[in-house]
């Protein structure tokens, strides 16, 4: 065989033991870190608790505890106290989390589905299709989203599914833009031409050569969108425009309790802290995962 150029790369160690064959060790994986696992742990606990809420030893969510009284301070029976209508705050927090997370997940799924597919198509097909679609997306982006959402909800009626669809659709342009940009960036790369020169079909090129390159930015934006939708739902709830009462959501709870914070401190803090932890966990874990899958030069 021909002579060989020396192999030097940062990600791995070449060890030449005396009399032994050259051994190349696998590049060590980037450690994810303790905080990452804390974030994953929080999301895991949240998922388990909200999914199995009805099996948990907590107070039933719709029950009024007149004997305990309004705005009771935390006690052993009611770990986070009661609200102004004498309902148990802990169970409302858990059931509210269920509403917030379902809206976040389903809305993000709509955003990723439409935004991702349209973005990739738009960037790969180019031409008039791309121009028309991009223009439509910019029109939606230019809309003051929160006002549009409020109007639509008032007109259409407030229900969980309406909120999911509306918030999901309003997140489409953001994902569309990101996916279109990353697709454009790699559709012009030589490896796409190379894949075509090896006889790959358009579908194969999109699925196997372009999509894996879009994933890192898609993950980052999925997490961002998820957080954004939960926050927007919170804002709607605070304004009393989210899911109709008595069903709780984190935003609705903060809104209800914001009347007199001195009395209802636990009630305000509980959903706010839950929301805060969830957003931090999502963003941090998302960023770590993105870095883990990033095989570009910057890693070295």
């Amino acid at each position: 065989m021909l002579n060989v150029d020396p192999v030097v790369s940062d990600g791995e160690v070449a060890v030449a033991a005396a009399g032994e064959q050259l051994e190349i060790l696998e590049a060590p994986k980037r450690p994810l870190g303790f905080f990452f696992w804390c974030c994953v742990g929080w999301m895991f606990i949240l998922a388990i608790v909200t999914i199995f809420a009805s099996f948990l030893p907590i107070k039933p969510v719709g029950t009024f505890y007149y004997n305990v009284g309004r705005d009771a301070t935390p006690s052993f029976a009611h770990l986070l106290g009661t609200d102004e209508l004498t309902r148990d705050v802990l169970s409302r927090l858990i059931y509210g989390g269920r509403v917030s997370l379902v809206i976040g997940l389903a809305g993000t799924a709509i955003g990723i589905g439409f935004g991702g597919v349209l973005g990739m198509m738009s960037a790969y097909v180019r031409g008039k299709f791309d121009a028309a679609l991009s223009f439509a997306m910019y029109v939606v982006l230019a809309f003051p989203a929160i006002i549009a959402v409020i109007c639509l909800l008032e007109f259409w009626g407030r229900s969980e599914w309406h909120i999911i669809v509306i918030l999901g659709l309003f997140s489409v342009p953001f994902i569309f833009r990101v996916v279109r940009a990353s697709t454009l960036a790699c559709a012009t790369k030589e490896y796409v031409t190379a894949a075509r020169s090896q006889g790959a079909t358009t579908g194969r090129v999109l699925a196997k050569d372009i999509f894996p390159n879009v994933i890192p930015s898609l993950i980052a934006y999925t997490v961002f969108t998820f957080g954004g939708i939960i926050t927007t739902e919170g804002a709607l709830g605070f304004l009393g425009l989210s899911v109709p009462t008595p069903e709780p959501s984190w935003g609705t709870m903060i809104g209800e309790a914001s009347g007199d914070v001195t009395v209802t401190l636990a009630y305000v803090l509980a959903p706010a802290i839950a929301l805060f932890l969830t957003l931090v966990a999502l963003n941090y874990a998302g960023e770590q995962i993105r870095l883990r899958f990033d095989t570009s030069e910057q890693k070295l």
């Binding site: 002579n3 790369s9 190349i24 190379a194 075509r196 006889g199 790959a200």
Partner: protein
């Protein structure tokens, strides 16, 4: 072997028509037009060439002379919209111009393969290199996943990559430029193509690695009896490694000859200028290189006469008025050039000194 412009095809074709078996590649009057907002841009303008099995053709020219577009046009691998391809490309008797994409796809990678210029961007960063080689094998040869992976390792060994079974699990970023170009070559060779198009395969590499890659290509070629089209701007590279050379300028072939004849007897002033602009090891130090003044012409608004006239030190009136056809040399029938006043034949006009434009 004959290479000729359409006008002079008569002699060239009369010989080949008698042969029962067709040539591996026969390109006739190939023309690639990009429809730009400024007007049609003819990047390849009526190029004809032919190639036998196992032969090597070098295509030489400066940047923007249409070499890369020509090599991609031969394959049919050009961006679909706003691009028009005309003429004929007969590959092993099959017409590729205007062929359905499904036919082209069955040929691409399997029978005609390409090695790209920049090994840094021509490998997909998100897949392990073993998988990238195996993909082609599975697509064209319908190998099983396991067999394809094993063949990929064998191919990596063949292109001189140490510890191939470990390397196959690496991502492109973990390899050096020379290694990546070896991987690209392994991908191109995977299905045993009959024709390899190498588009400036050593431009992005270190000089020390260039020779290794060239040797590797030459070795693969002789082992597999594969024809190769070698696109480069470096005359030094093609001088020792090709059977035939085509010099391109502004999308046209301006001089075509068997390698020996071309270097022994340069006719076209552009080829001469290219040769003079190459540094020579025998020159005393601090010898000034002779650069070619000016730039290649705008391909949307092509000059009336010879495209090189404006930069040619020997240009005459006729050169600016009429475009010279590609004609065969009187003494060497295999040597073609497009020039009214070729080098090596002193004309009366030239004897007077010739008005230099530069």
């Amino acid at each position: 072997m004959s290479t000729s412009a359409p006008e002079t095809l008569v002699t060239g074709d009369a010989k080949s028509e008698g042969q029962a078996e067709h040539k591996l590649l026969e390109v006739t009057d190939l023309r690639t037009t990009f429809h730009t907002p400024r007007g049609p841009l003819v990047a390849v303008d009526g190029v004809s060439l032919s190639l036998e099995r196992g032969e090597t053709l070098g295509i030489v020219g400066e940047s923007g002379s249409g070499k890369t577009v020509l090599s991609r046009s031969i394959m049919g691998l050009i961006p679909g919209r706003n691009t028009q391809l005309s003429g004929s490309v007969l590959f092993d008797g099959v017409e590729l111009v205007g062929a359905p994409e499904s036919l082209l796809r069955s040929i691409w990678g399997a029978r005609i393969a390409m090695v790209f210029q920049d090994p840094m961007t021509s490998l997909n960063p998100v897949h392990r290199i073993g998988r990238q080689i195996a993909e082609t094998l599975r697509l064209h040869l319908k190998l099983s996943k396991k067999l394809a992976a094993e063949s990929a390792v064998t191919l990596l060994a063949q292109v001189g990559i140490p510890s191939p079974e470990l390397r196959a699990r690496n991502y492109p970023v973990e390899l050096s430029g020379g290694m990546r170009q070896r991987v690209m070559i392994a991908i191109a060779l995977a299905c045993g193509p009959q024709l390899l198009l190498a588009d400036e395969p050593t431009t992005g590499l270190d000089v020390t690695i260039q020779a290794q890659i060239l040797d590797l290509l030459a070795e693969a070629q002789s082992m597999r009896h594969m024809a190769m089209i070698f696109v480069t701007h470096d005359l030094g590279i093609v001088a020792t490694r090709t059977d035939q050379i085509m010099v391109m300028y502004s999308g046209r072939a301006v001089e075509v000859a068997p390698t020996r004849q071309l270097f022994a007897n340069v006719r076209m002033p552009y080829t001469e200028a290219l040769l003079h602009s190459t540094p020579r090891i025998g020159d005393p130090s601090h010898t000034r290189l002779q650069a070619i003044d000016g730039r290649p012409p705008d391909l949307v608004h092509r000059p009336v006469g010879c495209a090189f006239a404006a930069r040619c030190p020997y240009a005459q009136e006729k050169c600016r008025e009429e475009s010279p056809p590609l004609i065969a040399d009187a003494a060497e029938p295999d040597h073609f050039y497009a020039c009214w006043y070729p080098r090596g034949t002193p004309t009366p006009a030239q004897a007077q000194g010739g008005t230099s434009v530069a």
